[in-house]
Each structure stands twice: as structure tokens, then as C-alpha cells.
């Protein structure tokens, strides 16, 4: 709990500030529709963030996430509509390709000892390039079809006794992913081993931890979740340009993971923190849209500044907690 306290407080403050400012401007924020929208947008980045958290915990990084979203998202739309594959085959293919890419990254990083930054940077360039190739740079989309499948992203679940607000399905899917990921990290042997190897790989290896296999596994988890996020993304927006789909997603996801307490040095991080970190970033973007509609260009500045504040606040909270603990015992 202590580890996510800083980010949680920051999130609540920004949330209250947004509500107050929106009320002053006469803009709509606390309405069911806006809240639904917010939750819906947290889902894909949240899933990416959870995936990249695994990689960051091993001390690595994945820069290819945005291009993965493009490859899988645009690829799925293209296969379904332009090529005409059935849904089951398309989705299996998406899963297979995502997992294979993770395996590819992980193998190069562990067996050939290549730096994760470089391997995934090449991925960032290649996967977008491939997508632009097979689509011949043409937009891919669903038109009015596949409404059933698109429920995964567009669907809503009524909440009992609450009017005017329904729970978006993608947010629920993200929560399921988050819970599974948290259990995996905190309760399973593999999760513990991952934390250990992120901090001291040599000590872990000598303790019989399969460091190579686990590191590869982290990259596979990351890529598969990126593929899933890409699927949800395309199902939500309906059509995408191969040249721009998923641009900057990797940076938002990494920012969310860092806000959520993952150290890029490896060995630390919580899933709850990543989810709150994502929510904070999407909240900020929403805030700019509804409160400062004429200052859209400030978006990156705002997010960058908040990331910095968040990391500083986190460090200060950590120190305060340590001090209080010392005082209590001393």
C-alpha cells in the first residue's frame, strides 16, 4: 500500500482539480458519459503498462509497444475485412504473432546478450514498417461490420442501482489482466523469481532460478499484452492508419509504469501502481480536452511535467515513510 500511496494521492488531487475546473468552465466531467470514456481509454494503455512492467522489473525495456499495437490492431482489421479471414483464425494469428515477437525479443536479449533498448528499438521500426507494407499504407477498418466482436471494446455492462453510468467492457478486461498479473507477481514462485533476478541476476541464477527462461517469459507476456491492447484499440476506434496507429503508446505505457513505481533499474514495481499511473495519464489528457480545449498543444508538456512531479512525490513519500518508521521505533 505504501508503495502506491504517492501516486494514489496525486491521482486524487488531479481528479478533484479537474472536477472543480470543469465545473467552473461549465464543462462536463463528472457525468456518466465522461467517466465511461475515461475508463474506456485507460484500458489499452493500462494493459500495455502492465505488460511492460514485467519487462521493466527484469531491468529491461520494450520500445516496440506502439508498433505492436499498430501491427496487431491494423493487422486484425486488414485480415478480417481486406483478406476475409474468419474471426477465430485472425485472433489465433494475432496471438501467435504477438507471442513470437516476444520470444524473438527475449531470445536475442538473453542468448545473444543484446541490450533490450536496441532490440526493441529495431522492433519499433520494423513492425510499423511491416504493417505499412502489407496494407500498402492504406487505412484498414471495420465499417459497420463486426459489431459483435467490437463489443469487447465498445460494450458496456449495466451497474445495478446506478443510472446513467455503465461499466465499459475493456476496463473490466484490463482489471482481469491486472488481477492475474498481480497474483502472478506476488504469489507465484515465478513472480518472486522475476523480482529476484531483476535485482541481482547472479544471486538468482546461483539459487537455481531459470533466469534466461524467466526473462524471455517477461518479454512474451509483454508482447502478448501489447497485441491484446492493439486488438482492443482497433475494436474501439474502428479504423486506423498504419502510419500513425499506436504512435507514442509505448511512451505512455512506460510513463505509466514508472509513475506506478517501477524502477528502470529493475527489481521493483506493483501492478496496482501501473494501473493508477495509467489512469492519471489518461485523466490528464481528458482534462486538457474538456477544460482547456484551445490548449491541446500543451498535452505532452503537461504529461511530462506530471510524470516528473509524480516521480519526485513518490521519492518524498518513500522518505517520509522511512523516517516515520524510524521515529516510531527510535
Amino acid at each position: 500500500m505504501k508503495r502506491i500511496l504517492g501516486i494514489l494521492v496525486l491521482f486524487i488531487l488531479v481528479y478533484i482539480a479537474t472536477a472543480v475546473m470543469a465545473a467552473n468552465e461549465g464543462a462536463e466531467f463528472l457525468s456518466g458519459f465522461t467517466q465511461e470514456n475515461l475508463l474506456r481509454r485507460v484500458a489499452p494503455i493500462g494493459i500495455l503498462g502492465i505488460g511492460v512492467a514485467f519487462v521493466i522489473i527484469t531491468g529491461g525495456i520494450d520500445l516496440s509497444l506502439g508498433s505492436m499495437v499498430c501491427l496487431i490492431g491494423v493487422g486484425v482489421a486488414w485480415l478480417l475485412t481486406d483478406v476475409g479471414w474468419p474471426i477465430w483464425l485472425t485472433l489465433s494469428m494475432a496471438l501467435l504473432v504477438s507471442a513470437a515477437i516476444g520470444l524473438f525479443h527475449g531470445t536475442l536479449i538473453t542468448k545473444l546478450n543484446l541490450p533490450p533498448f536496441v532490440v526493441t528499438l529495431c522492433g519499433l521500426l520494423m513492425y510499423r514498417g511491416i504493417t505499412r507494407g502489407f496494407t500498402q499504407d492504406q487505412t484498414a477498418g471495420f465499417g459497420t461490420e463486426f459489431t459483435g466482436l467490437r463489443q469487447l471494446s465498445k460494450g458496456e455492462i449495466p451497474v445495478p442501482f446506478v443510472e446513467g453510468f455503465q461499466m465499459p467492457v475493456p476496463f473490466v478486461l484490463m482489471l482481469v489482466v491486472a488481477v492475474i498479473a498481480a497474483i502472478f507477481l506476488n504469489k507465484t514462485v515465478a513472480g518472486r523469481h522475476l523480482m529476484a533476478l531483476g535485482n541481482n541476476e547472479e544471486a538468482a541464477r546461483l539459487s537455481g532460478v531459470r533466469t534466461t527462461a524467466l526473462t524471455i517469459l517477461a518479454y512474451v507476456i509483454c508482447s502478448v499484452l501489447a497485441g491484446f491492447a492493439g486488438l482492443l484499440h482497433i475494436l474501439e476506434v474502428g479504423l486506423e492508419q498504419p502510419a500513425t496507429a499506436g504512435n507514442f503508446f509505448e511512451l505512455f505505457a512506460i510513463a505509466a509504469a514508472v509513475l506506478g513505481g517501477c524502477s528502470l533499474r529493475g527489481g521493483t514495481g506493483t501492478i496496482a501502481g501501473v494501473v493508477i499511473g495509467t489512469a492519471l495519464i489518461q485523466l490528464l489528457r481528458q482534462m486538457i480536452t474538456i477544460v482547456f480545449p484551445r490548449q491541446q498543444s500543451m498535452e505532452y508538456l503537461m504529461i511530462g511535467a506530471v510524470l516528473l512531479v509524480g516521480v519526485i512525490a513518490d521519492e518524498l513519500v518513500r522518505r517520509a515513510v522511512a523516517k516515520r518508521r524510524a521515529a516510531r521505533i527510535g
Binding site: K187, V189, R192, A196, A203, R205, L206, A326, I329
Partner: protein, 504 residues
């Protein structure tokens, strides 16, 4: 101290509190010019903490420090250096990716036209390396050196500061006997030139040889002082432990059981030309002696699958096993407690209990989930048995004293209850009381049928604890001594490459 003159350094009433640990309470001592003061105490007694305070690494909560009778505040390492105080830390603090010269002058690089003056660095570094008897090129990268040599680089670095007060926190724990000798020569020479030295060690023989006076800490408080003529093994021990230790080596030879480990023509990648063969029976404690660099660590790391063997085979309990990784070795029933605890043994950011259970997690798992109940049991048992000094088993290992970290590493492997236990320098940096506990544990495990092979550079330990001793020299197994043939001379002769004398 002569007349009313104040000592060079005096500390009074020093107190220091960490979360859950009172590291120091009302501690005082003094140090005269040109003397060697040994600071003794069990693991966690507060020795390193006190020295870090003097060197400006951490501030005290209370108390005062007087230099030549004048109260001073030491706020930073820089500050301490300017007052002529240098500390050689218990753990190595070198940038392994930089050269020796760069490390020696790190933070104090001489410059020329605004750029680092490499020529001066290398010339000066060579001078200090000569002083500690290290004949290597200062341009060599530190990461390529053995641990012992890295330690000598640390010492050279401290000398380069030109300190009046030089503090050495367990400097010999990773040195070979030759390196130790040259360090002693350096210390004696410094003393002659009027430098004062505070010397921390768990090796009481060294203290006897070097120290002019001894100050002992126990549980963060002063336990007593000894003058030169009072420095004797038993008096030091009883001040440290607060009781007498009888029968230091509990070893009783016992009947060896079935074949536990058989190594045939094994070649380590470090010494691929020499094939090594030996056998280990259940319930046997076998010492692996030799000089530092003889290839002992390489040999057991090859057995354990840390490095790939360059040929040969390993049999465990009569079965040939193909060990390609530590994981394979663990599954075959082997365990290795490595030499370099910080690098290889501990996940520093994790809690004591998590470190203790790390190697047995897979064994105790329930369908992939952590068995937290078992984990508490293990940690409670091992903390008790090893007498690990920690406020709770949830303390982060980074905050334990050096010796207590070592106990956690050992505890992790002992908790595995392996068939064959490989120990690399098991008591390095461990206090006398805990050493005896570790010997007792080895004894207990052997009685339970575990075969133990331990590497040790401490002759006393080899003589005291082994049923049989294997001796290595430059990657070769030069001989095997039964307990009846065991003597310091016999071991040294083999360790330096001589032949075994005709059996008596």
C-alpha cells in the same frame, strides 16, 4: 598517551539508531598518533557503523568527535578526507568498468588543460600499487582482477589520500596469505611513519600480530579494552562474546557412508589442461585448501554448473548427472554457498526471509504458488540456528551487517538440506561465536549424511574441521591428506606445488 596531551582522535558518547536497531549506544574510544588500534566485536556489534561515522559516511545521532582535543563535525566523506581520515570499506567499492588508475583517483582526477591527465594518474597509481606490492598495469580494468587484487586496489586508493588516520574494515577477508603479508608490511611501515590505523578483523591471529591496543564492542556498546600485553586469544573472545567458548572445533571424525559425489577428470574452463578427480562420501567433511588463485572456486563452480565444464563427468550418489546450470545441480541434490556474497549470494533489496527461502521456493511450491507458511518456518529456523542479528525477518538484507549477510547466504543453502554441500569460504567475515555455530551446523549436517566440501584459506579451519583435505595448486589437485597426515606444513607444501612427503 603521554602526560596531559590529548590523543589524536577521541570519540565520546556516540549513539546511532536505525529503524528497529540500536546500532551504537554511548560508545567511546581514543586513538593515539602512530598506533594500530584493533576494533573487535561480533557481527552486528556496530564496528562498521562507528567507522562510517568517523569517515563522514553517516552522521551520528549523538556524541562528539575530537581531533587533537578539538571538537569537530564530520559532515561528508570529503570533509573526513580533508581532516586526514580515510576508510577502506568492508565491501569493495570499485567501479569495475574502469581502470585501476581511474578508480584510485576517482573524484580527485588530476587535470591538464581541463582534461583528465591520464599520464599523471597512471604514474601515481603505479607508485601506490608498488607500495602495496601489486605488480600490475594501472590501466588494467578492475573488473578483470581477482577479488583479492581488487581489495589491494582499495588499499592503494586509501593510501593515495595520504591520511593521518587510516581505517581498515576487514581488509584481509579476501586476501591470499601473500597479499596479507604485504599488507602487514605496509601497515607496519605506515605506523613507523606516524600514521594511525584502526584495524577491524575477525581473525584474532592478525590482531595479535599487529595491534598496539584493542577496543571491543558488544551489541553496540563498549565491552572493554586491552593493552598490548593483554592481547590474547581467549581474552579477546570473552570480551566479544561475553562468555568463554570451549572446544572451538566440534569436529569428531565419523565413518564415511556411501559415495555421494564423484568427480572424474573434470576440467574447469579456467584450467582446461588439468583434469581433476576426487570422491566425496556421505557424512564426510572435506577441506579444499590451496592458495588464492589455485582454482578452487573455479573447480566447485564447474561442478555446480555455474561455468560449463571443459570435459569430464560428475556422479551424484552413483548416478551420472549432466549438470549444465545451477538449476540442474540443485535438482541433483547439490548446493553451493558462493564466495562473493554481495554479488552472488543475496538479493539485497529483498527481505531476510525472502532471501533465506529463495533457493527452496521451487521445492516447496504448491502448484506454482508460494508456500508462505513454509517460508516463515525456514526463516525462523535459520535465523535462530545461525543467530542472524536482525530486527525481524522482514528486514531488507541491505541493512544487515556484513557478517549477518554472510549468515543469510549460508542459511539459504543449509535450508535446502542438500545431499552434497559445497561451501566457498564459509566463515569469511564471520565472528568467532557464529563461526562456531557454523562449524556445529556443518557437523550436524555431516552426521545427518550430507557430504560437505569446503574451500577455505584459513589454515586453522582446514586443520580443525576436515576429515580429509584436498590441496590444489595452479589448477591441479596436488594431493590428498588424511586426517592423520594433516599438518600446516603438509598442506603448505602441496599448496605451493611440492610433492606429498612419504607417508609417515
Amino acid at each position: 598517551m603521554s602526560g596531559n596531551e590529548s590523543p589524536l582522535l577521541e570519540v565520546r558518547g556516540i549513539g546511532k539508531q536505525f529503524p528497529g536497531v540500536r546500532a551504537l549506544h554511548d560508545v567511546g574510544f581514543h586513538l593515539n598518533g602512530g598506533e594500530v588500534l584493533a576494533l573487535l566485536g561480533e557481527n552486528g556489534a556496530g564496528k562498521s557503523t562507528l567507522m562510517k561515522i568517523l569517515a563522514g559516511v553517516q552522521p551520528p545521532d549523538s556524541g562528539e568527535i575530537l581531533l587533537e582535543g578539538e571538537a569537530v563535525r564530520i559532515d561528508s566523506v570529503q570533509d573526513a578526507m580533508e581532516r586526514g581520515i580515510a576508510l577502506i570499506h568492508q565491501e569493495l567499492n570499485l567501479a569495475t568498468n574502469l581502470s585501476i588508475g581511474a578508480n584510485i583517483f576517482l573524484g580527485r582526477e588530476p587535470r591538464k588543460f581541463g582534461l583528465i591527465d591520464e599520464a599523471t594518474i597512471n604514474a601515481e597509481a603505479r607508485r601506490f600499487l608498488d607500495l602495496v606490492g601489486l605488480k600490475i598495469d594501472p590501466r588494467e580494468v578492475v573488473g578483470n582482477l581477482t577479488i583479492g587484487r581488487q581489495q589491494m586496489v582499495e588499499i592503494a586508493k586509501a593510501l593515495s589520500i595520504d591520511a593521518r588516520i587510516l581505517i581498515m574494515d576487514e581488509p584481509t577477508s579476501s586476501l591470499s596469505s601473500k597479499e596479507t603479508e604485504s599488507l602487514f608490511a605496509v601497515i607496519k611501515d605506515l605506523r613507523k611513519r606516524g600514521v594511525s590505523i584502526i584495524y577491524i578483523s575477525h581473525r584474532l591471529g592478525e590482531v595479535k600480530e599487529l595491534a598496539d591496543r584493542v577496543t571491543v564492542l558488544r551489541d553496540g556498546e563498549n565491552a572493554g579494552d586491552l593493552e598490548r600485553h593483554e592481547i590474547e586469544h581467549d581474552r579477546m573472545v570473552s570480551l566479544m562474546v561475553g562468555r568463554d567458548l570451549s572446544q572451538f572445533y566440534p569436529h569428531e571424525p565419523h565413518a564415511a557412508g556411501d559415495m555421494a559425489l564423484e568427480v572424474r577428470d573434470l576440467r574447469s574452463p579456467a584450467h582446461p589442461k588439468h583434469a581433476v578427480s576426487f570422491q566425496l562420501r556421505a557424512g564426510e567433511i572435506v577441506g579444499l585448501a590451496g592458495l588464492v588463485g589455485a582454482g578452487r572456486t573455479e573447480l566447485i563452480e564447474t561442478i555446480f554448473g555455474v561455468t560449463h565444464s571443459a570435459g569430464g563427468e560428475v556422479r551424484v550418489a552413483g548416478q551420472k548427472v549432466d549438470i549444465r546450470s545451477p538449476r540442474d545441480a540443485i535438482q541433483a541434490g547439490l548446493a553451493l554457498a558462493p564466495e562473493d556474497r554481495k554479488q552472488q549470494g543475496l538479493v539485497l533489496e529483498m527481505a531476510v526471509r525472502e532471501n533465506l527461502s529463495l533457493a527452496s521456493l521451487s521445492r516447496d511450491q504448491r502448484h506454482g504458488f508460494l508456500n508462505l507458511k513454509k517460508e516463515s518456518e525456514i526463516s525462523e529456523e535459520m535465523i535462530g540456528k545461525m543467530r542472524v542479528k536482525t530486527p525481524t525477518d522482514r528486514q531488507v538484507v541491505r541493512y544487515l551487517s556484513g557478517g549477518n549477510q554472510q549468515k543469510v547466504v549460508l542459511g539459504k543453502w543449509l535450508a535446502m538440506k542438500p545431499r552434497v554441500l559445497l561451501l566457498d569460504e564459509p566463515t569469511r567475515g564471520i565472528d568467532v561465536g557464529a563461526k562456531q555455530e557454523i562449524y556445529a551446523l556443518m557437523e550436524e549436517l555431516a552426521r545427518d549424511g550430507v557430504a560437505i566440501l569446503f574451500v577455505s584459506s584459513e589454515m586453522e579451519e582446514v586443520l580443525g574441521m576436515s576429515d580429509r583435505t584436498l590441496v590444489m595448486h595452479e589448477g591441479r589437485l596436488t594431493g590428498e591428506l588424511q586426517r592423520s597426515e594433516l599438518s600446516e606444513e603438509a598442506v603448505m607444501r602441496l599448496a605451493t606445488g611440492g610433492a606429498k612427503a612419504a607417508a609417515a
